[in-house]
């Protein structure tokens, strides 16, 4: 029994809920794209993500909704906010820096036509009705529950699961390396390179690092 399904005469509450959350999702998305302050953009993205989470719940998928809230709203947006706060006020530059001015109207037109086309296709096509009886997994877990997702993930999709975890690990290492700055980065990289202890490698790296350092100082 869907907890959100209760009976109101006239418009079913589901339709109302869908209308509400889709509206917040669209408004949030529009604000992300349009706000001149990146901070506002990030906050609006939060609206968008939470609305999507609610829509996932309406689709009988509590685990994905939970993950949406935890990963996107909890982690990704917070990370964005951290970075924006760290970098300070960086609005877009004066208009004289804009290149290819004709690009913007074309892009707007393109996005509009894309939206029209896709929505038109969706309306025109004949999707099957959603199944009424939600199936259970082999072990008897209910559809969309954490147990059911876990079972499927660790049986049919175990390879995808492992690869995803490797990707996450690589991304974490990449983030650390990219985050290192200046001297610390230089030292860390040199230690990484020294595993072979090839003198020549070290020497050439030292030279490259020194040159990079010089360039940085010239630029700043």
């Amino acid at each position: 029994m869907n907890p959100l399904e209760f009976d109101i005469p006239g418009a079913p509450v589901e339709v109302l809920l869908f209308a509400m959350f889709s509206l917040t999702a669209i408004v949030g998305a529009l604000r992300v794209v349009m706000a001149s302050d990146p901070f506002h953009s990030a906050l609006s993205l939060l609206f968008n993500f939470v609305s999507l989470g609610a829509l996932y719940l309406m689709l009988d998928q509590p685990f994905v909704a939970l993950a949406q809230i935890l990963v996107y709203a909890g982690a990704v947006v917070v990370l964005f906010l951290f970075v924006i706060a760290y970098l300070g006020d960086r609005r877009e530059l004066a208009t004289d820096a804009i290149r290819l001015r004709w690009l913007r109207p074309i892009a707007a037109l393109l996005a509009l036509s894309l939206a029209t086309l896709l929505v038109g296709v969706v309306i025109a096509s004949n999707f099957p009705n959603a199944v009424q009886e939600l199936p259970e997994t082999g072990a008897g877990f209910s559809f969309g529950s954490a147990q059911a997702i876990g079972e499927v993930f660790l049986t049919d999709y175990v390879l995808a699961f492992e690869i995803t975890s490797v990707v996450l690990l690589v991304a974490a290492i990449g983030g650390i390396i990219l985050g290192l700055t200046g001297r610390a980065r230089h030292e860390r990289m040199r230690k990484l390179m020294q595993t072979r202890s090839a003198d020549q490698q070290k020497k050439s790296y030292d030279q490259a690092a020194a040159a990079a350092h010089r360039d940085r100082e010239l630029n700043s």
Partner: protein
């Protein structure tokens, strides 16, 4: 140890020497490098003797023994195995090559001592021995071609050994190019044979080709002609002989080993080896005889006029190989191989003796600046004299038996080929006279007569070589002297291998299915008897003695000295080597240069501008396209979005 094993050892030992010197590089001292190269050839010689003994103890030595190492190349039914073929002919050559090769290696230790590139020289010399063994042991036509090419390369490397001398480099290139003509000819011959029978190994070729190709047909003549082209180039016979005199630019041991004893005789070997093929075409045989006869005569005349000691001997080599070609042409393979071996002895002896003289006089090769050396170099004089006597064919030296066997067979060939063969016999006799003349011209001009200033200088120990007077340790270093002495001994006793009426070792040894000592027709010729042989000896010996006497009169005692300047045109022609070089220059070199010049002009006026236009057009187009890559990420994203849109539209279009 089986016969195959010993043959493979003989074959591969020089290669091992090359590799050791090559990879040892600068780490090896000159002494070690020299030792390694000599030892490897000595091992090869020992293995060759073992192979010979094994062969004689074989139960049924009818055919040769083919030993396949692995299949070298396969393409459909075409198969070239990496194989060696052991039969009396290849053992004979194996003995000559490794034996003479070893002596010359030892000689080189002294001759090349002090040269900064000594190691490279020894490695090349070993490479040559290996290449020559590839040629003589090859078990099929393709492999023979490999050896043929390899000896050409080794010869090229050794002629051009002193690569800072432009003349040496030019001579090396000339030798290589002329030999390449021969290589191509042999290759085409190989293709023809393969077309006919689809096999390359000796026994199938010899057994199947006579069935596939009609005797005396055009096809048979064509095959023989192409194979003969290779033999002519390698053996410096008319008309592909011009490289040999120039090849004397190489160090003297090289001249002795490659351009006297071994490589230049490869053509004779090839005709003997491929005789079942040459048996198919009477015309090809006649061609070989005529070319050999003309070469032996022409080279004799030119040798009389040349003034460079090494060139004189080079023309003499050409002349002697002419005799071998005549013998091979008429089918007296045994006689040809016999003369090949004795010639290797006495010609190497003459070259090495000349090398001692050249070395002593500080690299002087002009005989007009020599004279009276007998006083300072008595031992060298005696050895050189032995060599010249053997060359001239005086009893009991080696050349006497071998050359006169050829002349005897030529006389017998008249029975097979018709009366014109007697003309060739006349050529041979005239050649014998010339041999005596030019051989002893050298002896008298270099060792007799009045002492020249240069020789006097040598006598006073004023000619220096690497800071030492060249006469410091007697006539020559011991390592240079004893190989010459051994060769001298061989030049004296070598002829005893075949004594008319008593025995004929080469003839008996070369007896076998595919190494017949004589062609069947010749075997049954009317005159093929020891009596004819003795008759031929009785005629040619006086002629040789006459030649020597003539030389004594003209250049020795001077009684007929006026004859020296009596034939100025003849002399000039001889010094110009009868104008072959300038003729080739006019006929081939100049037209091809003119063609090349016009090709360059064509390129400059048409090809290059057109290509430049194409280049500019391409560059402009590229520059225009490169502007698309403007670095603006949004621009790229727009492209992606557009493409996506296009795909969506296409889907809608298709799905309706």
């Amino acid at each position: 140890m089986s016969i195959e094993a010993s043959a493979w050892i003989a074959y591969l030992a020089p290669l091992a020497g090359v590799l050791i010197i090559l990879f040892g590089g600068m780490k090896l001292s000159h002494k070690v490098a020299g030792l390694v190269s000599c030892a490897s050839v000595l091992i090869s010689f020992g293995a060759a003797i073992a192979t010979l003994l094994k062969w004689n103890s074989l139960d049924e030595p009818e055919h040769g023994v083919a030993s396949v190492a692995w299949t070298w190349l396969t393409s459909g039914t075409f198969r070239i195995p990496f194989e060696i073929f052991i039969d009396p002919l290849s053992i004979w050559m194996l003995m000559v090559v490794t034996g003479v090769g070893f002596l010359i290696h030892v000689y080189s230790l002294g001759y090349m001592a002090g040269d900064p590139q000594f190691r490279r020289f020894m490695a090349y010399l070993n490479l040559f021995i290996f290449s020559m063994l590839t040629l003589v042991l090859a078990g099929n036509l393709a492999f023979l071609l490999v050896g043929w090419g390899l000896v050409g390369m080794a010869s090229y490397l050794l002629i051009g050994f002193w690569h800072d001398r432009p003349t040496a480099v030019a001579a090396a290139k000339k030798a290589f190019i002329v030999n390449a003509i021969g290589d191509v000819a042999i290759m085409l011959g190989l293709f023809l044979i393969f077309m006919e029978i689809g096999q390359v190994s000796w026994i199938p070729v010899f057994e199947l080709l006579p069935l596939a190709v009609e005797e005396n047909s055009g096809r048979a003549f064509m095959i023989c002609l192409l194979l003969l082209g290779g033999a002519l180039a390698k053996s410096a016979q008319l008309p592909l002989h011009t490289w040999l005199p120039d090849a004397m630019e190489g160090p003297t041991p090289v001249s002795a080993l490659i351009h006297a004893a071994t490589m230049v005789t490869a053509g004779v070997y090839a005709i003997a080896r491929l005789h079942p093929i040459f048996d198919l075409s009477m015309d090809a045989q006649k061609l070989i005889i005529v070319l050999g006869g003309l070469t032996l005569l022409m080279a004799g005349f030119i040798a009389l006029a040349q003034t460079d000691i090494k060139r004189v001997i080079a023309y003499s080599t050409m002349s002697q190989i002419g005799y071998m070609f005549v013998a091979a042409g008429i089918g007296a393979y045994g006689a040809a191989m016999f003369h090949l071996a004795t010639h290797a002895f006495f010609k190497a002896l003459l070259f090495l003796g000349a090398g001692i003289v050249i070395h002593a006089l500080g690299d002087e090769q002009d005989i007009r600046k020599m004279g009276g050396l007998k006083k300072y170099m008595p031992k060298t004089y005696k050895l050189f004299l032995v060599g010249s006597l053997a060359l001239a064919g005086i009893f009991p030296f080696a050349g006497f038996f071998s050359k006169d066997e050829i002349l005897a067979f030529t006389l017998a060939a008249g029975d097979v080929y018709g009366t014109w063969a007697y003309v060739i016999y006349g050529f041979g006799l005239l050649g014998a006279l010339m041999t005596g003349l030019y051989g002893f011209r050298l002896v008298f001009l270099v060792f007799h007569g009045t002492e020249s200033p240069l020789v006097a200088q040598y006598g006073r120990g004023e000619i220096l070589h690497h800071g030492h007077a060249t006469n410091e340790h007697g006539e020559a270093p011991r390592s240079m002297f004893w190989p010459v002495a051994v060769l001298g001994l061989l030049a004296v006793v070598g002829g005893a291998l075949a004594i008319p009426g008593l025995w004929n070792v080469p003839h008996d040894f070369l007896h076998g299915a595919h190494a017949a000592p004589t062609r069947e027709a010749l075997e049954h010729a009317e005159f093929s008897t020891p009596a004819i042989w003795l008759f031929a000896l009785a005629i040619s010996l006086p002629i040789a003695v006459l030649g020597i006497l003539g030389a004594w009169m003209i250049w020795g005692s001077g009684k007929l000295g006026s004859l020296r300047t009596r034939f100025p045109r003849m002399e000039r022609a001889g010094q110009n080597a009868w104008g072959w070089d300038s003729m080739y220059d006019k006929v081939f070199s100049r037209p091809s240069q003119a063609l090349a010049t016009s090709a360059v002009a064509f390129e400059d006026t048409i090809t290059v501008p057109a290509l430049e236009e194409a280049e500019f057009a391409g560059r402009d187009a590229g520059a225009n396209i490169a502007r698309l890559q403007n670095g603006v990420v949004r621009f790229y994203a727009l492209g992606t979005a557009l493409a996506f849109l296009a795909v969506v539209v296409a889907f809608i279009w298709v799905e309706g």
